[in-house]
């Protein structure tokens, strides 16, 4: 029973962080209608930006975290300026932009590997103090992951629900050409989406890399988990991305309890295929009319 509760607790903590990178993927996917593969590059970049600030430059944590966040936002904006915007202006289809996004991912992953090496890097070499809670044990970073993950996700959720700009962002995903007609700044809104997605992914990346370290090839793993969570929950609702990420993480943890840690990826992608087949709009997604879905 204790093992079950411990794994459930671990699942909830992983889920809280997964909500952030799922939202980072989802917000770009929903508003640009682009399968944002470069989110994997964003994740790796943020991990190494944190490593650069905290370990290489030896900045105190209070400076390293905002420094890494600022670098990550600049990186997200650079992707929009250098890649997504030229393709958007040319009127390229989402499939073409997805391939360009894959190119960005491959380039960034390998540039980082050249700069920092392929081996695993860690932020801290010290043993993390743990906290006992009702017979369960969690490290300090895990507790921080849980609180920050839920807190940031909920705060952005409130912004998405009540912020007037986010109504425009949602509309951008449906008919971007109408925004300039309505006098809305399309280019600035796109930058805002990229920056917000960058911040969400960067926070998740820093929390994860602080806990378990990083290597230049972790991006694809988190990209897949984030995108599966978004499709699992439902692509059109912010809260559904979080719910999808949380449920998926709990399922992965329970797979460890029932089978073994080796089969967690099978659970993830099995769930994806199952949902795509039997509930293509996602668990909490809204069914659309055929003409709406196009």
């Amino acid at each position: 029973m204790n093992l079950f509760l411990q794994l459930l607790g671990n699942g909830l903590i992983q889920g809280a962080v997964a909500m952030l990178y799922a939202a980072g993927f989802g917000i770009v996917y929903r508003s640009f209608r682009v399968f944002h593969i470069a989110m994997g590059a964003q994740f790796v970049f943020s991990c190494y930006a944190f490593y650069l600030c905290a370990v290489v430059l030896k900045l105190p944590l209070a400076a390293a975290v905002p420094g890494a966040l600022a670098l990550s936002v600049l990186f997200a904006l650079a992707i929009e300026w250098a890649v997504y915007r030229p393709f958007f202006r040319k009127g390229c289809s989402s499939g073409v932009v997805m391939i360009a996004s894959l190119g960005v991912m491959i380039v960034v992953e390998n540039v980082i590997a050249l700069a920092f090496g392929n081996e695993v890097k860690t932020i801290s070499n010290q043993l993390e103090p743990s906290v006992a809670f009702a017979g369960l044990r969690f490290t300090r970073i895990q507790l921080l992951q849980f609180v920050l993950g839920l807190g940031v996700f909920a705060s952005v959720g409130v912004l998405v629900r009540f912020g007037k700009w986010f109504k425009a962002v949602w509309a951008m995903g449906d008919q971007p050409e109408l925004l300039p007609v309505l006098g809305l700044p399309l280019a600035r809104l796109r930058l805002m989406v990229m920056a917000l997605g960058g911040v969400l992914v960067a926070i998740a990346a820093m929390l994860i890399s602080w806990d378990i370290g990083m290597d230049p090839h972790v991006g694809m793993h988190y990209l897949l988990l984030g995108s599966v969570a978004v499709f699992f929950g439902g692509t059109d609702r912010y809260w559904a991305w979080g719910a999808g990420a949380m449920l998926l993480s709990i399922l992965q943890s329970l797979a460890v309890w029932q089978f073994s840690a080796r089969w967690t990826d099978l659970v993830t992608f099995g769930v994806l295929i199952f949902v795509l087949l039997f509930r293509p709009q996602g668990l909490f997604g809204v069914s659309k009319r055929l003409e709406e879905a196009k």
């Binding site: 989402s94 073409v96 360009a100 894959l102 491959i106 392929n118 499709f231 080796r262 795509l276 087949l277």
Partner: protein, 289 residues
Amino acid sequence: MNYLLHIGVMLGIYGMLALSANLLIGFGGLLTMAQAAFYGLGAYTYALLSLKLGLPFFVTLPAAILLCALVGWLFGHAALRFRNEAFVLATIGFQMIVYVTLYNWTDLTRGPYGISGIPRPSFFGLGIESVPAYFLFTLVLFAAVLGFMHLVCTSPFALSLKALRDDEAAAQTLGICPKGQYIRAMVFSAAVAAVPGVCFASYITYIDPTSFTLAESIFIACILLVGGSGNIKGPMAGVAFMIILPEVLRFVGLPDAVAANLREIIYGVMLVVIVYTKPKGLAGAYAIK
């Protein structure tokens, strides 16, 4: 000389893989990321049937082709309900499921330890052991696959796939059934991908799951995106570029670790530049949508 022949064998293997993916990507307009899964299934079927049951090559090759065709047919029924990103994600899901199964079903596949001692093909007691002999053998298999794909690509079936790719609704009004034609394309594509799998397993004589990862599927898709698709020339140009480039970098004198990353960076940059400036690739006939 053996080095050049080895490159020739690899060109043949990737040439067959590119031709198999071309049917879905170039003719069907469906970006698949699962080709390495079928490649791996073909390789493992050959290895297991040869080693555990001692079956000869002329039985194991058709068995691998049939198994991949069957899996492609089953997977096609599920995945071909989707288009665009959802189809890509479904193929990624399938690729990951096959990889995780190959990696973790240790009783059957020996998981990360891989399967060694896979026999080379032999015909009437004559084994294909040397690299030159294997090069000729790959050439024969490649010619057979090329001939088959040429027949398929010039058939009314390929024309119907092109019609579906360009305008699915309009094609349906002409009586073309998307589900049936796409599933047929998936079955052909999966079956053809088994051949290079068998070729690879019997050439290297050792396989493990790391040869059949998602990265390998992405690499196969990149061959078509860089070289072009929708005809025979495009995939061939892509294979020549993507396989020969690392060999060229080897002669520049860069350390292996740097050369590997540099090669990937060149692929990545080319992907972005080519889809922006030349959406049909170096020699393709279809601009990906």
